[in-house]
């Protein structure tokens, strides 16, 4: 009979690793002592079954983001930059660049312009029924404005329901509603970011946080939990922001394209 195998070798064999696997297999057929040790190892490890992680829904990533977004630290410089330039030098460089940008901006504002006539846009231009020039981008932008305004109106109703709900009780209807709005809100926020509408994206971001909280609250909800949701909505002035943004978007929606500065109220 060949030499016995160690417990460690048998452990590796159990996990399908290690050298001499063929020899170990043959040895286990012949050696009752090693076979007994192997059975014990396998029996013990069979008792250790993987724990089933609690389910996390589709919105989990958003929840994590909402928890960390205000805690994001400063990014460390790439390895090569950290090596060639100490942190203080990097800050000095960043300051110098910022100053340069500021100077360029101020110079651009006060420098006399060669001509005041804007060059024609590269995108295709069409005329709508009122004779106003519009581009494909304008149309998409207007669709976004209308959709977000509707979305904000619906969200306002959910928030108002929550603010006026009895101090405890069933909020499952509001939760289902909030859950539907949450998915839509994320899509609109992404569109708003891409369209450069940072103020819309900001309001939608705040809105998502409250919608998430509503969706994940217990139902029936306790008076304390409901009060907490309400206080957060109040603290963020969310209802106010939603109403103001909705009004602003309605005005932009009804204004002839492209909107002028005087038609944008904030």
């Amino acid at each position: 009979m060949s030499t016995h195998f160690t417990e460690d070798e048998l452990t590796l064999y159990y996990y399908g690793e290690g050298r001499r696997r063929g020899r170990i297999a043959r040895h286990l057929d012949e050696c009752t002592a090693c076979a007994a040790v192997y059975r014990e190892i396998a029996g013990t490890l069979a008792l250790v079954t993987p724990p089933e992680p609690p389910e996390r829904g589709d919105q989990y990533g958003l929840e994590v983001w909402q928890r960390i977004r205000h805690q994001l630290p400063e990014q460390e410089a790439p390895g090569w930059l950290a090596l060639v330039m100490p942190r203080t030098d990097r800050l000095v460089l960043a300051g110098a660049l910022a100053t340069l940008v500021l100077v360029a901006f101020v110079a651009g504002r006060i420098w006399p312009r060669a001509g005041s006539v804007a060059s024609p846009p590269a995108a295709s231009v069409t005329a709508d029924a009122s004779g106003t020039a519009t581009t494909g981008n304008d149309v998409r932008h207007r669709i976004l404005i209308t959709a977000v305004a509707d979305h904000l109106d619906r969200s306002e109703r959910v928030l108002t329901d929550i603010m006026n709900a009895p101090s405890r009780g069933d909020i499952s209807t509001e939760q289902r509603w909030a859950d539907d709005l949450l998915t839509t809100s994320r899509l609109y926020r992404q569109d708003a970011v891409e369209a450069g509408e940072s103020s819309i994206a900001g309001v939608l971001d705040d809105l998502e946080r409250s919608l998430l909280e509503i969706v994940h609250s217990p139902s029936p909800i306790s008076a304390a939990d409901l009060d907490q949701i309400r206080r957060r909505i109040d603290a963020a002035a969310l209802l106010f922001k939603v109403r103001v943004m909705s009004d602003e978007l309605r005005q932009r929606e009804s204004a002839p394209a492209p909107p002028t500065a005087t038609q944008k109220t904030s």
Binding site: E7, T11, L12, E17, T44, P51, G61, E63, V64, Q75
Partner: protein
């Protein structure tokens, strides 16, 4: 999200674009949670690990090799954050244990309630959990990656920043301690 799009998002995130990083968080949170839960065995700890891991990932994005896979990189961060958290917990509870097998807890034999298999199963679960809790942070991490995650010894070493030998011996020590701790259960079963 296809590969090109993922690379673009990653590139933007590396330049400090919060929205791009948000997309990465939304994409990888669930898998990060699953690993963190398996590593720590506790839901709240897993949540803490997920948050800490993303904050760490954001801070270190500049060091991330853009050719590498973000998911793999994050996997390592989550595994190591789990080890850090388990170490901190063990230190708090004054449960840091030596590597010696002598220190493995010898749990007394259980009086299993005869044919009541459900109760027996719950008892096994409790014993296993207790035995896992008694492993050192590194042993538990190495064992989890090998036993639950199916990672090879080499991969465990790469994930935890250990040499192959150290990774292998962490697994061996964990298995030895578990055998000692769970022996009473096995004798009841046989």
């Amino acid at each position: 999200m296809d590969a090109t799009e993922a690379a673009t998002v990653l590139d933007r995130a590396r330049q400090g674009d919060g929205e791009a990083f948000r997309a990465l968080v939304e994409r990888h949170s669930r898998s990060a949670f699953r690993l963190a839960f398996r590593m720590t065995g506790n839901e709240q700890d897993a949540e803490d690990v997920v948050q800490e891991s993303f904050l760490k990932a954001y801070r270190q994005l500049g060091r991330f090799e853009s050719r590498a896979n973000f998911g793999t990189w994050l996997y390592r961060i989550v595994a190591n954050c789990s080890v850090d958290l388990m170490r901190a917990k063990q230190a708090r509870h004054d449960q840091i244990r030596g590597d010696s097998l002598d220190e493995a807890v010898e749990l007394p034999a259980v009086d299993l309630p005869g044919p009541e298999r459900l109760a027996q199963s719950a008892e096994i679960e409790t014993r296993v959990q207790s035995a896992l809790d008694d492993l050192s942070a590194l042993e538990r991490a190495a064992f989890t990656l090998r036993h639950y995650e199916g990672r090879s010894i080499d991969e465990i070493g790469a994930t935890l920043g250990l040499g192959t030998s150290a990774a292998k011996h962490s697994v061996f020590r964990a298995v030895k301690k578990l055998r000692a701790a769970l022996a009473p259960l096995r004798s009841q079963e046989s």
